[in-house]
């Protein structure tokens, strides 16, 4: 089970969340601890995908819940907690990336080649089942590494929109509201992000898809 799948399995219904929120507001620490337990993996995953550093993701995850606790009184009980917590985490991550991270050395650069040029045989970026063949597993690992690097090389704006839409599966409208931009801007940033990813991952993309990616 991936981290995200495991995170999803921990999440609760809006009704159960409501009860916890109401109890936490009354000062029930166990209830708030339960909220943390339910969403910590999801929030950590968001922070980790955006910042790519455990210690930063850890800080952001803790800050997210501390801020949520302080603002529980303003949160409308009965609404889903996940988007609210995600919004806090994303804002914290963006603040971090706009500040500290810009002064730090990037984890990846575009200098190193993607895919087979690194020596391995690239797996095609197509929806096909993985099998337990070790060679395929290696290819899969290669693809994962390249995808990870490619996403990290997107601009902050593109990466944020891409992660929120593709990984967090948020709607355009939610993303627009979260980032304070229009839905059109969300779509255009997303389209540019995908275009860049297709170019960077050309080694993993089939011939027809390559042609489409060269637009």
């Amino acid at each position: 089970m991936t981290g995200l799948a495991s995170a999803k399995s921990m999440e609760r219904s809006a009704e159960a969340d409501k009860e916890l929120v109401l109890r936490a507001r009354e000062g029930d620490r166990d209830a708030f601890a339960e909220i943390v337990r339910s969403y910590q993996r999801r929030i950590y995953a968001v922070a980790m995908r955006m910042t790519r550093r455990h210690e930063v993701a850890d800080d952001i995850t803790q800050d997210t819940f501390v801020r949520a606790y302080r603002n529980l009184g303003r949160f409308e009980a009965g609404r889903p907690l996940r988007p609210w917590l995600t919004r806090i985490a994303v804002n914290l991550a963006i603040n971090y990336l706009n500040g500290v991270a810009k002064r730090e050395q990037p984890l990846y650069t575009e200098d190193a080649p993607f895919g087979p040029a690194r020596g391995g045989s690239a797996r095609a970026l197509r929806p096909e089942p993985l099998d337990s063949n070790p060679e395929r597993a290696l290819e899969s690992e290669e693809l994962a590494l390249d995808l990870d690097r490619a996403v990290s090389l997107l601009s902050l704006e593109q990466r944020t929109v891409f992660l929120l839409k593709v990984v967090e599966e948020m709607r355009y409208e939610e993303i627009a509201k979260l980032l304070g931009i229009s839905e059109g801007t969300v779509m255009s940033r997303l389209s540019r992000a995908r275009g860049r990813l297709r170019v960077m991952l050309a080694a993993h993309v089939g011939p027809v898809q390559k042609a489409r990616g060269s637009r």
Binding site: F32, M48, V66, A144, V166, Y172
Partner: protein, 319 residues
Amino acid sequence: MTGCAELLALVEKLSDLETTAAETLAAKAHLEKCPSCRSHVEFLASLAKESRSMPFPEPPESYWEHLPRKVLDRIDSESGRPSDFFRALLAPSILRWGALGATLLLVTTVGVSVLRNDTREDTRKPERAPVAPAAPVVEAPQAQVAAEPIVSPPMARDEAVAAPSPVLDDNELESLPKAEERERLSADSSAPAPSAPADAVVTLRSNEDAGTSLRSENVQVLESANRARPMAAAPAARSQVVLEDCEALRRTVASLGEGPGSEDARLQLALCSLESHEREATEELRTRAIEDAEAFLARESEGVQAEEVRKKLRRIKPD
């Protein structure tokens, strides 16, 4: 490929499941005759799938187990809530118990003294008539000395009740002294007050009602909190405070491990857990009390304190 550029946004919208019914029909119609766009949709689907399963170094399971507690500790430390409590906890045991004993002795002495004066006033009224009114005035400063350490410290306990109370409004919460102020108040007093029992505060509040000059900012806050809180809720609230103290102790025990002060913390935790079960005899609290008591006894099986814990343990877990 002609015309695809215009339809790209629509095709991407379709793969994002954001199209309207009409847009879906238009996009699907285009996809049927355009292999390039079909391939693009395939790419988007696989990109999404790979991205969602994109692994990152997962922290160990213990990280998830401890995170809720870390968050709660941060909330506590930012609100300054347990600082007094922890200061008391980390003080040498002998000082704490000594302070507790001295405090109780002073309270008892003051109480007895007041009672005796009352009695004397009643019996010797004709002879002492000119002096009698001075008696409470003489007692008041003594009471003040005793009160300072007793009144200030229980803030940590009472605030623990007051803060989450649904009946306290924001103004009342705002009026609670800040942690620094409480520390200053505690530091000003001569005895290590934080260990004074909450019950002692009740006694002093009664004196205050009788007109003695024990009023302080903290007492006012306590009164304000108590006025707002229904009286019937008091025992439950006290049990909740004890429970919270136990949780704070549990965290301390965990953080101290086997280091200096851990034995003392374990003793406090065992006593707290046992008290918690005495106040509310649930199976869960009984199990916790037994575990905490046995954890302490496993490390310290001799001495007065061990005997006390053992005695209380036997009440809930007969051999």
